[in-house]
């Protein structure tokens, strides 16, 4: 009986089947391989988890170690601005003077509670402003002297002096070392910050914008 070649090929090849013994051996080979693969898979995940844990732990340690440095750097970068903000606020309030004098000597005598003696700033004196008087104030919680001046245009200016402690104020430009003062505008007030004669000095004046 004739049939199409394709059907004949199918019939011919389908008569060949693995016997039970052969089939069982091949299935057993596969099962054994799957078991070992599963074990290898579990082991590989254990290794991956271990590696991940190690990396995570290392990152945590690195962050903990770097945190004080990063924190202090961040804090240091914010100090000049916080000084400027505080000084500007005081300058705007313009509280009454506690001592009035066109010269510094009586003012020095007045400030008996400070751990420094107010000095004549070489940098600020160049402006040629007139001294009006002074009062106590504070910068970053440290007692300071607030000296009030009037410029040639009749505007009030303020010069703050406080003992310079790097651990409180961080690094700031020292004009005795040739460094340039820091200028920060806060609350519309132009503040200039510098170190002179081991004192932190901050001048404040209204930031005039020319028309």
């Amino acid at each position: 009986m004739t049939k199409p070649l394709r059907e004949g090929v199918e019939n011919h090849l389908n008569q060949y089947q693995l016997n039970d013994d052969q089939m069982q051996r091949l299935i057993a080979m596969q099962d054994a391989s799957s078991s070992s693969e599963e074990a290898a898979y579990t082991a590989s995940w254990n290794i991956r988890i271990l590696k991940f844990s190690s990396v995570a732990a290392a990152l945590v340690v690195a962050v903990l170690l770097a945190w004080p440095v990063l924190y202090s750097q961040n804090k240091a970068s914010d100090i000049p601005r916080s000084i400027a903000m505080e000084v500007a606020k005081n300058h705007i309030k313009l509280k009454p003077l506690e001592v009035t004098s066109p010269t510094l000597t009586p003012i020095r005598r007045y400030f008996t509670e400070l751990d420094f003696s107010p000095v004549k700033s070489q940098l600020y004196e160049r402006r040629g402003n007139n001294l009006l008087g002074a009062r106590y104030c504070s910068i970053s919680g440290v007692s300071a002297a607030q000296l009030r001046y009037k410029d040639k245009q009749g505007q009030f200016q303020t010069l703050y002096e406080v003992g310079y402690d790097p651990s409180i104020y961080g690094p700031l430009p020292d004009i005795n070392k040739g460094e340039t003062p820091l200028i920060i505008v806060a609350r519309g007030v132009k503040t200039t910050i510098w170190i002179e004669q081991d004192l932190l000095m901050v001048s404040a004046e209204y930031n005039e914008i020319e028309d």
Partner: protein, 172 residues
């Protein structure tokens, strides 16, 4: 962290294993050799899976490729090869051959069983892929990495061989 799904076991079911066995028989021509060939190929396949050296898109085709490679390695030196060069010459001379040449053929089952052992492994493999798996000539060419013209030449020669055998069988 979520774990990936565990890999599915790389297990061929019984029909698949029978299919590989039939493919191995198509290549070897003998049942005992076919089983040894299948066992070796499965071992190599499973070893490859354990090493995870590459992702396999079509495991069955990949398994057949392993069977074929091992067969060629083991038996090539024992068996005479048909020359592809000769095949190309046939193809050049007879450009109108196609898989339809096989589709139109009818044959007696007993006669096919007799002639089977007298076909070479290339022809048996061609019949397996075309007849049992239903591959087209292009699919066979892709799987065997063989030029289409060479396959068409094989079909032409196979058809001639089958027709001649049928003629001889009828006259006997």
């Amino acid at each position: 962290m979520a774990l990936d799904k565990a890999p599915a076991p790389m297990v061929f079911d019984r029909p698949a294993l029978d299919g590989f066995y039939q493919y191995a028989i198509s290549l070897c021509g003998a049942e005992a050799d076919a089983y040894d060939l299948l066992q070796s190929a499965l071992e190599r396949y499973l070893q490859g899976q354990r090493n995870k050296s590459r992702r396999i898109d079509n495991p069955q085709a990949y398994m057949r490729q392993i069977i074929r490679n091992i067969f060629i390695d083991q038996y090539r030196h024992q068996r005479a090869h048909d020359s592809d060069e000769f095949d190309e010459q046939i193809h050049t001379k007879i450009p109108d051959i196609s898989s339809h040449s096989l589709e139109n053929l009818v044959i007696e089952q007993d006669l096919l069983a007799k002639i089977w052992q007298h076909l070479n492994y290339n022809e048996r493999e061609l019949l397996y892929l075309w007849g049992l798996l239903g591959h087209t000539i292009d699919e066979i060419a892709l799987e065997l990495q063989c030029p289409r013209g060479t396959l068409l030449a094989r079909i032409h020669r196979l058809r001639k061989k089958l027709q001649r055998t049928q003629t001889l069988g009828a006259s006997a």
